[in-house]
Amino acid sequence: MTIVLKGGTVVDRSGERAADVVVEDGRIRAVGPDLASGAAGSGDRVLDCAGLLVLPGLVDIHTHLRQPGQEEAETIETGARAAALGGYTCIVAMPNTQPAIDSAGVAREVLELGQGTCCDVRTAAAITVGRAGGQLTPMAELAELGVRLFTDDGTGVQDARLMRRAMEYARDLGVTLAQHCEDAALSAGGHMNEGPVSARLGIPGVPAEAEELMVMRDIALARLTVARVHFQHLSTEGSVAMVRAAKSRGLTVTCEAAPHHFSLTDECCSSFDPVFKVNPPLRTAADRAAVGRGLTDGSIDCIATDHAPHAPETKEQPFDEAPPGMLGLQTALALALTSLELPPTELVGLLSTRPAAIVGVEAEHGGPLEAGRPANLCVVDPTAKWVVDPDRLASRSRNTPYAGMTLTGQVRHTLLRGEPVVLDGEAQR
């Protein structure tokens, strides 16, 4: 089948241009002006993209799919559907499943379950067995299965010596270690950002320094080992400044920020609604601004959702008993369009091209949009307004912090390897 994306604005890292895109056999056959009339045969499908942006499919390198183990919260199938509806064509599953993705067997299962879904599902694997911080996982065996990112996400690797060894071993394999930066001793017992709001609410806090201590430590270890280290979901002004400085010294560090850290603050917790509980926690307005600046000036490499579904009843508990995490896949692009004052070509870098490079899927995802490339695309209406309704999201869970909010920017179509997996905002699989 040939699909023609007609009359849209094609955006990739090289810029924006008015062009049609012809997709055939899973690949882009041509990109250029006025291809629609010439190319359109009788069996072709023409999608009118007037007023819309045609982007490389988005890439989320931080997705909790909950399978195996917590299928009541999300499955790989439902998570992939939510991803496609959010414009993503590739997602990387986090390994904090039950059991953890710490062996070839579990990794293979996740990859198999990802086949035939709405999205190209890749997986990260744990750095340590059971994410227990003790023994390294069989990283070489996992790398052979295509794992490019290793992380104990949910907790940081506390032992500096173990982290050093993991970095050295990972360097030989050409894979990247992703760290959830949190000094567990300093954060112990905390449930939200420590500061004036936590003091007022009487909720035990997590100081910014709990994150910053580990960022500082791992920058030092990256210098020692010359390994590739990626910092997950940076949330504080201090963390962003340290990574910016480390990059200027030429260290091989990258980092991501989550949409909630550039769109929300700890004031949200005043309602005591655990839907606003997340780890790292929502921080201050100054931190939110610093994350936004980091995304704008390139200190932060990419946006990653940290999509973290939790079954509704687990969020109907008191704030300190509820698990941390919030949905993100279907709202990330709109929040980036709404909250960050960046041209579309920069957003493509943050949401697609750079995350694709970090997890090594740049041959298939992240653009550029040119003839011969795999047709992983999303088509976005950048001005459409929509109200977030938790019941209408594709996730099995409902824990979006944006319920009732009006966002600007809506995904219209998503093409995965040339196949329309989302058409007019409706999932096709």
Partner: protein
């Protein structure tokens, strides 16, 4: 007023109104038959997730003196330990037909969550480190009874402010009624930030005591030792305990308050607790009338300040 979730939601006028209402109920409790039919046919349920004999007895006495029926739901005898969500528990209780739910929970914010889910009135009987509004109201009432007014009065709150819902509610209530509040504690026992708190913080109790009209001592819990917040209870008592020597530093009319239960020999010396200026028992007594006022305000006609005749 639909719920009483915290002093933070109340204006000075709201507090004054509840204290005036309390005056009426103090009069009721002094009668030979200290009971009125004000809440006859109304049902008040306790939802207590934390042991609290005194607060619960006080609410129970208040409800009975208003002729309300009561139901009791406590965690030890419930399905909560079986994993029922807070929401399901709240909806279950409401379905049995209650007009008010009095919630005590170890987690900050639990009463506010319950209030979002049910249509009954919710009273916060203490949540985590957050608020304990009826305690603050009875403290205000007692202080007013002893000192005439809170306006311009100087109050020192001493001890574990960080982990105290009583301190959070008292700071809000005392300052709203015009008192000047000084917190006295080591930094380890202060909240991580006092930004926006209308208070001063001091470390040296001896320095503060001569200037205050009331000193409010907080309970010092033993488990704070294991969290490296103070080295030993002995050192705490030496620096922040209200000893006989320290009482001598106070104005002779200044009063000593404590929310109970007291750790005699820790935050308050045994002989200080028994001085006439220690009004701890008055606080407990006033607690019943204050809680009658709160329940009446939420469940009574809500219009009239007049207490129905017995």
């Amino acid at each position: 007023m639909k719920h009483l979730l915290g002093i933070a939601d109340l204006t000075a006028g709201d507090i004054e109104h509840l204290l005036r209402l309390t005056d009426h109920f103090v009069e009721v409790t002094r009668r030979r038959m200290p009971k009125v039919p004000a809440l006859q046919g109304r049902t008040v349920s306790w939802l207590f997730y934390e042991d609290s004999t005194r607060t619960r007895l006080s609410f129970e006495q208040a409800a009975k003196r208003l002729s309300a029926d009561t139901l009791s739901f406590t965690v030890s005898s419930s399905s909560v330990r079986k994993g029922e969500s807070l929401r399901d528990t709240a909806l279950t209780i409401e379905a049995m037909g209650v007009d008010a739910i009095v919630v005590r929970h170890r987690s900050s914010g639990a009463p506010a969550q319950v209030a979002r889910w049910v249509s009954a009135s919710v009273v916060n009987a203490g949540d985590g480190w957050h608020e304990h509004p009826t305690q603050a109201l009875l403290d205000c009432y007692t202080m007013r009874e002893q000192l005439g007014s809170l306006d311009g009065r100087r109050v020192a709150i001493v001890g574990d402010i960080a982990h105290s819902r009583v301190a959070r509610s008292d700071v809000l209530a005392f300052t709203r009624l015009g008192a000047e509040v000084t917190l006295v504690a080591p930094t380890t026992l202060l909240p991580p930030s006092l930004e926006g708190w209308p208070v001063r913080a001091e470390v040296d109790l001896d320095h503060v005591l001569p200037r205050v009209d009331a000193v409010y001592l907080l309970r010092m819990q033993r488990e704070r030792m294991s969290e490296a917040l103070v080295p030993t209870l002995r050192e705490y008592t030496a620096r922040w305990g209200l000893t006989r020597r320290r009482v001598e530093l106070m104005d002779e009319k200044a009063i000593v308050m404590h929310p109970g239960p007291m750790n005699r020999g820790v935050e308050i010396a045994a002989d200080v607790a028994d001085l006439p200026r220690a009004v701890v028992i008055d606080q407990v007594r006033n607690g019943v009338a204050v809680r009658m006022a709160v329940l009446y305000q939420l469940l009574g006609s809500g219009q009239s300040l007049e207490v129905p005749s017995p």
